[in-house]
């Protein structure tokens, strides 16, 4: 059953749809009013990454670096070195896709509080095709020491992620998405780095579904359908891929005994990889992975692609049944 801090209307047909990038853009203006250290850099994508209203409201704190993602993060590194909290914004395919070494050396190793914001992540990008559908960015970022990795599941969480990142002196990656998706959390839902949210729980659950990004919604839809079939599960929203909420995830493994990880990312190296690494060391249980299996994306609309690549409730249900079969053995 649904956690009571969540939007209780989320299963209704008229559920509000908003993109995580919009939550980010709005959160940025709210935080910037409170925190004068915030500056924003854009690589010619201020409209798409939703930093336009910040740029208009705070022109003296906005920097247009041009189509130059290596400069984007290295200039941001200098600004953070000076004492600013820079949000370096672009599409995730280019940042951290193109400029990973600069992020590694001048931000993570240098240990300066740059906030790398990668919008348009995952297969969700749709029509632009494989070049723009980055499915490897979580892997790139979560292996870096010092780097926090936040993957908000909806508009509200994206808004909160800005505040959490702005208050932290650690390098941070925030992963955002293009399309509108159901607003499933509320201003009252907790959001902390290093913490999970249990968003759906039933007694005697046979598996825990661990998801990040807008696919948390699909996980909830899957949980509801599974319940109708007499299979009870728990659903965890894991917005903090690094650091992971290790204690809570080990607890989940203990109480449910099986897991399914869900992400709009390659199955290698992302959330699934992180959870598997943790549980293999602590409490090995059967895990199934919902994600992209070693393929590049392609053009199409977001829902066609999610069907083709197995990133929807049906696939989550199928994988859950698979993991349950393994659990029975």
């Amino acid at each position: 059953m649904l956690n009571n801090t969540l939007n209780q209307n989320l299963f209704k047909k008229n559920v509000e749809l908003k993109a995580t990038r919009d939550g980010f853009g709005e959160g940025l203006v709210i935080e910037a009013e409170k925190n004068e250290s915030i500056v924003v850099l854009s690589a010619d994508l201020e409209e798409s990454t939703r930093v336009l209203s910040f740029a208009q409201k705070f022109p003296e704190r906005f920097w247009e670096v041009g189509v130059a993602e290596q400069a984007l993060v290295t200039i941001a590194s200098g600004m953070a070195n000076y004492g600013k909290i820079p949000f370096a914004t672009s599409f995730a395919a280019f940042s951290p896709g193109r400029n990973w070494e600069q992020i590694r050396t001048t931000i993570a190793l240098n240990n300066v509080p740059v906030k790398i914001v990668g919008s348009h992540s995952g297969i969700d990008v749709g029509e632009d095709g494989a070049t723009h559908q980055v499915l490897e960015d979580i892997a790139l970022m979560r292996t870096l020491p010092n780097m926090d990795v936040l993957v908000p599941c909806d508009y509200e969480e994206a808004k909160k992620a800005v505040g959490v990142a702005a208050k932290s002196l650690r390098p941070t990656y925030i992963r955002l998405t293009r399309s509108k998706s159901p607003v499933i959390t509320t201003p009252n839902t907790p959001f902390e780095t290093g913490k999970i949210n249990v968003v759906w729980e039933d007694t005697d659950s046979k598996a825990t579904l661990v998801a990040c990004g807008p696919l948390v919604y699909e996980a909830l839809v899957a949980a509801q359908k599974l319940k109708k079939d007499g299979i009870t599960v728990r659903v965890v929203a894991c917005h903090s891929v690094s650091p992971l909420d290790e204690q809570a995830l080990i607890h989940e493994a203990k109480i449910s005994g099986a897991m399914v990880t869900i992400e709009d990312h390659q199955v290698s190296g992302g959330l699934g990889g992180a959870v598997a690494e943790l549980l293999v060391r602590n409490l090995p249980i059967p895990i199934e992975f919902v994600g992209v299996y070693g393929r590049f994306g392609q053009s199409g609309n977001s829902s066609e692609l999610k069907k083709e690549y197995g990133l929807n409730a049906d696939e989550i249900i199928r994988r859950t049944k698979m993991v349950l079969a393994r659990r029975m053995q």
Partner: protein, 277 residues
């Protein structure tokens, strides 16, 4: 502020330290470290407003070393300036030392940025200069770059940015020594005309003899007079300067002298130093 002869003497001492450090480490980059010694002597003992007792002083001038492989020279200069005791210099590249093979900001006060991977220093200098300029801060940002790292796209992205935002508080040095790890820069990837390139990118650009103390100091004075453009000082230097068998030989770019070579090098440098004094 020291007079020119004193700066020349300091440069000589820095070169000797570089040789000793590299010999003790058994690896590292000799040629560029020796070639830039005059400029580092000028920077740390005449040009920069800095305070080794208060390395995080907000209004200090910043010196960002982009080509981090000449770390031995940076460390020698920092140590001579009083950032840490000279007896630590021999711990270069050794386990547990704060003198890492390439400089790390988190490990040593006075090191402004972590560097080594080439082409990213100027952009970081731009980041500092840009926000400082908008806030009306008076300090200046200096960035030391190599000619070889001008092959990196990241560097030219920063060149564009600095011109766009008219970063008159930013001064870059180019160690124009025409060597890099696998050969002459003019063979590996020609850069010339570098002066013309910077001018075309709307920078104030100067060429100097990077071993001539007056030219070094004057070029920085000229940079201070230009408010609406960043300045690049293309310093013609001799890689391996002061050690005859290293001079102009790219094989010494990424190499450290062995015991005998260090002995011979120090003998030569002693002579040069005597002449300076």
């Amino acid at each position: 502020m020291k007079d020119n002869a004193k700066l020349k003497e300091i440069a000589c001492d820095l070169r000797k330290e570089v040789i000793k450090m590299l010999e003790s480490a058994g690896s590292g980059h000799a040629a560029g470290s020796l070639g830039m010694a005059d400029i580092f002597a000028c920077l740390y003992f005449s040009i920069l407003h800095h305070d080794p007792e208060n390395p995080h002083w907000e209004d200090r001038d910043r010196l960002l070393l982009s080509n981090g492989h000449i770390a031995p020279l940076l460390y020698a200069a920092l140590s001579y300036a009083g950032y840490f005791p000279q007896e630590k210099l021999k711990s270069l590249r050794k386990f547990g030392s704060f003198l890492q093979g390439h400089p790390e900001r988190e490990r040593l006060r006075g090191v402004e940025i972590t560097s080594g991977p080439l082409g990213s220093g100027l952009a970081q200098a731009c980041g500092i200069a840009a926000v400082a300029k908008r806030e009306g801060r008076r300090f200046r940002v200096f960035c030391v770059t190599s000619d070889g790292e001008h092959q990196e796209g990241n560097h030219w992205e920063a060149v564009l940015f600095a011109a766009k935002y008219k970063l008159g508080n930013l001064t870059a040095f180019v160690d124009s020594n025409n060597i890099q790890i696998s050969g002459k820069t003019s063979d590996v990837m020609p850069l010339e005309p570098l002066l013309g390139k910077y001018q075309a990118f709307s920078w104030n650009a100067l060429v100097i003899d990077g071993h001539d103390i007056s030219q070094i100091l004057n070029s920085v004075k000229q940079a201070r007079l230009v408010y609406d453009k960043p300045t690049v000082i293309i310093a013609k230097t001799t890689p391996g300067k002061g050690v005859s068998f290293m001079e102009d030989n790219y094989l010494w770019h990424g190499k450290a002298p062995n015991k005998n070579e260090a002995k011979a090098a120090l003998r030569e440098l002693e002579e040069v130093c005597r002449d300076v004094k």
